[in-house]
């Protein structure tokens, strides 16, 4: 209970600080804030074991933090520093930490589902007990390669959990204007059990994911979870300047009224909650100091790591 709260609070405060760093110019290129969707990353990752793997998205900071990545190295990555998770070569949309089974965040929304399916299949071939959890948004449900991945995963009973974060919008396009039929019915068409989950409640997400992970480990194949959520902030921080109008003030107010941090926080005593909050603040304060103090990469090494070795 406390762990889930710590995770959602950490992600929320990390994102709020990251937005400040975008405004101050320490983070170049902006970010896609995960604010409002923290319950999904926290619940899903809490259901995974050490040998499991995840793939993430352009709105991926929450997944990476929930999986246990070092916040200082994550923040340093957003700032393009050499001490970042990816040595400053990936940035906000590509954070990865292979030591934790984080196989990378992907900026092509429908791409990672098939990568995760291949990873989980390979782990099974290697005799490992690995389950892959792959995050994507409602927008990705319209990229064909993701639907192809559902087919492969179901056909070969691959131990993968498809986590669709339905935040209502693909950038500015509402789900109702983009998706014919229903999201879960698309998964069911491939014979994949599909469930709609309250993505604002980390405990509900944890419960649903635990069932899906157990099913995958038992050799019964993929599960699809549609986690219904709401993006509290912009699609991308560029919206803070351009003020796109595609959501009404009323809708945003209603959407924000179910906050995963508050929902989970209400399950703690005031004292426990305050203690976690203080712990998170000090962790992030230290992380910011480390990230800001980290070296920038040498431009002479701009194409380091392009290949596995010299060519």
């Amino acid at each position: 209970m406390t762990d889930l709260y710590r995770t959602v609070r950490l992600i929320r405060r990390f994102e709020e600080r990251a937005i400040e760093f975008v405004r101050s110019g320490e983070i170049v290129g902006g970010i896609h804030p995960y604010v409002g969707q923290e319950g999904i990353a926290a619940g899903v990752c809490a259901a995974l074991g050490p040998d499991d793997v995840i793939t993430s998205t352009h709105r991926g900071h929450g997944h990476v933090l929930a999986r246990g990545a070092n916040p200082a190295r994550m923040l340093a990555e957003l700032m393009g520093r050499e001490s970042g998770l990816n040595k400053g070569r990936g940035g906000s949309m590509h954070a990865a930490d292979f030591s934790l089974g984080i196989l990378g965040a992907n900026a092509i929304v429908g791409a990672a589902g098939s990568i995760a399916t291949g990873a989980a299949w390979a782990a099974r071939q290697q005799g490992r007990d690995t389950v892959a959890a792959t995050f994507f948004g409602d927008g990705a449900m319209n990229e064909g390669m993701l639907l192809e991945a559902f087919n492969l995963a179901a056909l070969w009973q691959v131990p993968v959990v498809f986590v669709c974060e339905n935040n209502g919008y693909a950038t500015t396009m509402p789900v109702a204007s983009a998706i014919a039929g229903s999201i879960t019915d698309r998964a069911r068409a491939f014979g994949i059990p599909a469930f709609t989950v309250d993505g604002q409640d980390p405990e509900k997400v944890l419960e649903a994911t635990s069932t899906a992970v157990a099913r995958a480990r038992a050799g019964k194949g993929p599960t699809f979870l549609e986690c219904v959520t709401y993006r509290f902030d912009a699609h991308h921080t560029f919206e803070h300047r351009t003020r796109l109008s595609y959501r009404s003030t009323e809708e945003i107010t209603t959407g924000r009224s179910r906050c995963p941090v508050e929902i989970q926080g209400a399950r703690l005593t005031a004292a426990d909650r305050a203690a976690v909050d203080a712990e998170v603040e000090s962790l992030l304060e230290a992380a910011a100091g480390i990230a800001l103090g980290s070296a920038h990469p040498d431009p002479a090494a701009a194409l380091s790591y392009l290949y596995a070795g010299e060519i």
């Binding site: 990816n86 070569r89 092509i108 589902g113 990568i115 060519i311």
Partner: protein
Amino acid sequence: MPKLSYLKALNRALSDELERDSAVFVLGEDIRAAASNVTAGLHARFGDDRVLDTPLSEQAFTNFATGAALMGMRPVIEFQIPSLLFLVFEQIANQAHKFSLMTGGQCKVPVTYVVPGSGSRTGWAGQHSDHPYSLFAHVGVKTVVPATPADAYGLLVTAIRDDDPVVFFAPAPALGVREDVDFAALAPVPLGVGRVARAGDDVTVVALGHLLHDALAVADELAGRISVEVFDPRTVYPLDVAGLVASVQKTGRLVVIDDSNRTSGFAAEVLAVVAENCTLTAPPHRVTRPNGAVLPFALALDRAVQPGRDQLLAALLEMS
């Protein structure tokens, strides 16, 4: 010595690597039945898990291979049709190729993409007859176009063992090429190392894949009149710049025969590299498909847009 065909060389390389390394597996369409013959016998020998028949989901199974590679496997994908590479260009150029740099070197993506029957297959028309190796070179994906059975064997083995993605083009007109080989001498061929296929003094002809055989035939025809050196780069990217430059510095003349469309094609790159590094005694010449060509169906039209011996011969005679 026994004869080895190009097609059989591919089969032998796959078989040897499947045998040698349990991380290697082959996936693709109709590969258990071996529709293209490249995987003949492999399913019976290595089983379902090592020879994986896929549905027609090219984008997903190309990414699937990337995911498997991230976990330590060495997938080899067979694409029956060269134009499928357009369908999966994102998955190769934007996914597999970029993981190493974007993760700061945390991972490797050793996937090999084999296209047996690239280029024109004669009569297969617009959407089955492309030869897009220049595209992969442009984005920096390692790309090979072997000409001979021994090179096909050696470069496929190397591609599979390489820790990066490699696209392997096996031109349709080369698949039937046979040569005498000592099987014990078959060995890996390094990427980025070309070969002088025929030594000469007057002009360098650069030729890849099936066109190497055309270049050698033309060189034979001109013997006694023009001394033609034929250089086979074997790898399109990374290009053997040193080998190319050494040859052209010796001859002072250059003709490139290349089955790419002309604009921004491989031949253009060869001319640029030579211009930067050599002093030519005559303007260089390219024999290529025309700008922006789409291969038409009718046989005479198909042939009309492909580079061939007559054009190469004319270019060499004009230059001499």
